[in-house]
């Protein structure tokens, strides 16, 4: 069924084309549920095939789909690359590609260049009331693309893509801005550790600007908090230079409003990043204040955060002592 549907991906009638794409999305979703990966050998849809050398190979829905991805991507992207393609069609196309990556992560490696140019064309347009959903779909797909493909696949496309993504980061539309932050989160995670990339500084500054502004939308704020954590984990050199003592944490670690996202980010950074004694003590002080807030919501997370911070505190002291000892030994030598 899949090859027949793919052969009609470029159907002349647009409504028919969209119906076919929607059908293919359903097929992909079903493949994901019942496709029979290597761990479900006995599931429905597994077919034995004898190769010329006499050995048996198993044909699952996944392997069949994998073999059809090049034709699928070519047919679909040909429809999307035209500048005259209406936003609804583009959105449906990105929806299909997004679903494909959920079923077969990393399956669009050979199409990175074309995907980047289509994304650039879409994101270069300012999001209007009608096209903001397209921007969101495009950004969601790009997040998925970055997190499911190896960096060499898309590193050549980054000079094309990052400027428009940075522009989208500053958009007023809260969902568009949130998805742009998420796209950068995926990118940071994929490229970790990052050194000497200009766009990292812009991301940092935009995040700090959003966090410092009290009028920032809650979702955008949450994504900005998340990306501060990503920057500390994936681009420590940049934040240590730009951070100037961690001004971003003054905005992340606030006592009023919702603090659940901030607690999680602090916990993650305390657990995984290279942090200083001063930073730990500041965060312990902040978390202690959160314990005084009334209500039970989020208290369990605050306790976990404090546990990690206090454990790191000792580790950090031990490292300092070791550094002092090593320095002292060197001096003696």
């Amino acid at each position: 069924m899949s090859p027949i549907l793919i052969s009609r991906f470029g159907d002349r009638e647009e409504t028919v084309r969209l119906e076919i794409w929607a059908t293919y999305v359903t097929l992909l979703t079903q493949t994901r549920l019942y496709g029979g990966g290597s761990q479900t050998r006995d599931s429905v849809g597994v077919k034995r095939k004898r190769t010329p050398d006499g050995t048996d190979t198993e044909e699952t829905s996944y392997t069949l789909l994998q073999s059809q991805v090049p034709a699928l991507a070519k047919a679909l992207l040909n429809q999307l690359k035209s500048p005259r393609t209406p936003p609804a069609t583009l959105q449906a196309g990105f929806g299909l590609l997004y679903t494909l990556l959920q079923v077969l992560p990393g399956s669009l490696s050979s199409q990175a260049g074309l995907i980047a140019s289509i994304s650039k064309a879409i994101l270069s347009q300012p999001p209007s009331t009608s096209s903001s959903t397209l921007h969101i779909s495009c950004l969601q797909f790009n997040s998925s693309f970055f997190s499911t493909h190896p960096p060499p696949t898309f590193s050549n496309s980054l000079p094309v893509l990052t400027p428009v993504l940075l522009k989208t980061l500053g958009e007023k539309h809260p969902r568009v801005a949130s998805e742009a932050f998420k796209a950068f989160s995926s990118l940071l995670g994929a490229l970790k550790p990052i050194r000497g990339q200009d766009w990292v500084e812009f991301v940092y500054e935009e995040a700090v600007t959003r966090l410092a502004n009290h009028a920032t939308d809650a979702e955008v704020r949450s994504c900005a908090e998340e990306i501060v954590g990503d920057l500390w984990l994936c681009a420590p050199d940049t934040v240590h230079v730009k951070g100037k003592g961690g001004q971003e944490w003054e905005h992340v670690c606030r006592s009023s409003g919702r603090t659940d996202g901030a607690v999680k980010v602090v916990t993650r950074v305390a657990r995984e990043a290279d942090v200083t004694e001063k930073w730990i003590n500041g965060c312990v002080e902040w978390a202690t204040k959160l314990l005084t807030k009334s209500g039970r919501t989020g208290k369990a997370d605050v306790f976990e955060c404090l546990t990690i911070l206090l454990s790191r505190s000792v580790l950090s002291q031990l490292v300092q002592i070791q550094v002092l000892l090593i320095t002292d030994n060197h001096r003696q030598i």
């Binding site: 003590n281 312990v284 202690t288 039970r296 404090l306 206090l310 454990s311 505190s313």
Partner: protein
């Protein structure tokens, strides 16, 4: 950790040390334990002054179980390790405390807390055993009862004994320390190391006839322990002359097997004792025991009593793992229904 941070953190954490919200209370106690480990000198005085009394009440509470009890144990462990001098005080406070309603005291919890204190400060073990022994008239039962009787006396409860088998393991750990230390340190004779175990064993067997089910259960659990202890001490003292393990094995095991074979009234409890032996014995030791245990256990797997069948089957399963090629075909031929599930 800066002192001012501790000063602000401890009162905040203290407000969660209550039975109002057990989950948060558990996390708060775990944090106190962590603070006591990280900066014992500065945390200990504050905790002793501000928090300790409340933790006693939490330890008494029957609602304290699972993760919450684990955090209480971690707290007592860290507290004692922060300053060993408090260990005696904690043990006496835990056992001398007199809540208004004795029914609201979880004796197993208190026993576990005392055990934790002794584990964290093992030098206290001999003293605690001696202290509790004083209150007991029947010496052979000291090990099993010293975690039980003092509480009933001090709390003035009419219930003579309250116990659960799982608490027993905590005490057995400490009993094991004594013979090992004696054997390593002062070259005491094998016989003198074995004799306390003989007394404990006899005391446990006597309690098989108790009219209280939980006491009988604890006694069955206890009866299985001497083997565990002796086998463990064999591991620890294998370089010493004489073989403590085999000596004790010859001494205790035939009696238990005899009970399984001959005594209808004590059969189930004796099987539970065998289960303890089988469960806690290493595979290499179990290989030696397997032949002795196989026949009585296999016979009981056909017993009319469902509980006996269940315990025997559990033991048989473990025995099979010692020599599958030998035992599995026997089970396959004689008890094919074992393979149905």
């Amino acid at each position: 950790m800066p002192a001012n941070l501790l000063r602000s953190l401890i009162p905040q954490l203290k407000s969660y040390v209550s039975t109002t919200d057990i989950s948060l209370q558990s996390q708060a106690l775990s944090l106190f334990a962590l603070l006591l480990q990280l900066s014992p000198k500065s945390t200990f005085p504050e905790v002793e002054r501000e928090v300790l009394e409340d933790v006693y009440n939490i330890a008494y509470s029957p609602h304290t179980s699972g993760a919450a009890l684990d955090s209480v144990l971690a707290f007592f462990g860290a507290l004692v390790e922060a300053d060993f001098q408090i260990a005696t005080h904690v043990v006496s406070s835990l056992t001398r405390g007199t809540p208004e309603k004795a029914k609201e005291v979880s004796y197993p919890n208190v026993a576990k807390c005392v055990a934790q204190v002794v584990k964290s400060y093992q030098a206290l073990a001999a003293g605690v055993i001696a202290e509790f022994s004083k209150t007991l008239k029947v010496r052979p039962q000291v090990v099993m009862l010293f975690r039980l009787t003092p509480f009933t006396e001090t709390f003035g409860s009419t219930r003579p004994l309250h116990c659960s088998s799982d608490s027993w393991g905590d005490w057995s750990f400490h009993v094991r320390l004594d013979p090992t230390r004696q054997a390593n340190g002062h070259s005491k004779s094998t016989r003198s190391d074995m004799s306390p175990q003989q007394e404990v064993f006899n005391g446990a067997i006597e309690l098989f006839a108790s009219d209280q089910e939980d006491v009988r259960t604890a006694a069955a659990f206890a009866a299985g322990q001497p083997f565990f202890l002796s086998l463990s001490s064999h591991n620890l003292t294998s370089s010493l002359p004489g073989n403590i393990a085999i000596g004790n094995l010859n001494l205790f095991l035939p009696f238990i097997v005899h009970l399984v074979k001959q005594d209808d009234s004590k059969r189930l409890l004796a099987l539970h004792a065998l289960k303890e032996v089988v469960t806690h014995t290493s595979t290499s030791h179990l290989e030696n025991l397997a032949e002795t245990l196989w026949v009585p256990l296999f016979e009981n797997s056909e017993s009319a009593d469902e509980s006996s069948r269940g315990v025997a089957a559990a033991c048989i399963g473990k025995l099979i793992t010692t020599h599958p090629a030998r035992y599995l075909p026997q089970v396959h031929v004689c008890r094919p229904e074992f393979f149905l599930c």
